[in-house]
Subunit: 253 residues, 2 copies
């Protein structure tokens, strides 16, 4: 709600409203001056649309632009030669899933749309020019990639050391907070773009087992999950099951 107020406070009528997600996201992790915000809004970008399942960036690519999720939902994933898939991150509007390509030439994983998704592409050149003028933005971007890494670490401990129930509860907790962060979870309910199969690939489980555990969580009245929408009924208890502690999201600020 507060964030919503923010949206209305600063209006940039000459740009499509989706650009605000980027400003909004970066403000959620650091402070920005008015000039910095304006400079972000002025970044040149070309927009493309993707259907569910389509790749936005592909492993092996050598990007010369970064992509910014404007609308929809994306995942980062990697495939083993025999087709096993590991999803390594989910991304909401305002995220730049391949920001790292600024400093790492070749993509070591892919980015795909998990639902109809609009992505904007910003030339590396423009970003470099921007961060050259605004050191504050440079640090914001760096910080963003560092938080990314923190989430990877948290997922690692999940996949490596939590059992299936803990993992799934934990992921649902994380999603709720991140959707809340972009005002997409009113009343602890949100549209989840991931199928049970996607969840499985994110958590290192099989789709069948994800289904089993989900049934348990529903039976115990912690959540409902129908038709791609999830409601958290017992937030406290869900956190306990997932051993959830939000500090790793570094959203405080």
């Amino acid at each position: 709600m507060q964030q919503h107020a923010t949206h209305h406070a600063t209006s940039y009528t000459e740009h499509p409203p989706e650009r605000l997600h980027l400003v909004h996201k970066l403000r959620s992790i650091t402070d920005l001056t008015a000039e910095e915000r304006q400079a972000l809004m002025d970044l040149p970008m070309t927009v493309r649309s993707y259907a569910r399942g389509q790749d936005i960036v592909r492993e092996g690519d050598i990007p010369s632009e970064c992509c910014l999720i404007l609308d929809g939902f994306a995942s980062r994933y990697k495939l083993l030669p025999d087709g096993r898939r590991q999803i390594m991150a989910f991304h909401t509007p305002g995220d730049m899933p391949d920001l790292q390509s600024l400093h790492i030439r070749v993509m070591d994983h892919s980015v795909a749309a998990m639902m109809p998704t609009k992505a904007a592409f910003i030339p590396h050149k423009s970003i470099r020019e921007l961060t050259g003028r605004f050191p504050g933005l440079l640090h914001a971007f760096w910080r963003d990639t560092l938080i990314d890494a923190a989430i990877f670490r948290e997922w690692m401990i999940g996949i490596g050391r939590r059992d299936a129930h803990e993992r799934i509860a934990h992921l649902i907790c994380e999603m709720l907070l991140r959707f809340r962060g972009v005002d997409l979870a009113p009343e602890d309910t949100f549209k989840i773009p991931a199928t049970q199969n996607d969840m499985a690939d994110a958590l290192g489980l099989s789709n069948v087992h994800v289904n089993r555990v989900l049934m348990d969580l529903r039976r115990d009245g912690l959540i409902t999950w129908t038709n791609h929408t999830v409601s958290i009924l017992k937030w406290e208890e869900l956190q306990v099951r997932g051993l959830f502690d939000a500090t790793y999201l570094h959203q405080v600020h």
Copy 2:
């Protein structure tokens, strides 16, 4: 060998030789000018020593300095409330395991010595001052944290989607390359500071199972592993077993 030549080419007699590891490491991922190298060597640092098992930085800390491994070997890890442990990274001399603390206030994991280890502490202030003067170094540090994240991702797919044999073979492959990178693996043999228990916690397995798999690898003549030293006997075959592809280390340059 080439790197060894490099060592001798540039000598900074007024500093302890361990400082060269940092220069060496950063040069393995990016180009540095002579001034930048000198500036690195001139960083103020205070040195402390740690025994195996001691924490160098602890989860929850709010560091005002970054640590640099001068000598020895360190791991980054995280504990669950009931004591389950996940190791998320190994670090060799020249690495700065908590570089992220520059932009992320509170540590979300710990760093520990895995053998007697010497670490240097560099005030954030000095690093900020340095990166202010040398944008090249700023990008080198940023790039370093991005490679870190790339390794996290690779470990994620390992823990999530590879079976125990693949995981263990893969980790040994990675270690060989990283030790080679710092001239610590002559003839494909290196001192491994990790116990089988450490390996288990890094790979999301139990120590017993690590032992089982290690026996297999030895029986098949791929490696020897005695007394904390590992030799790779069949490098090709080990890579095949681990589905190993080194691009994620981004060491090429």
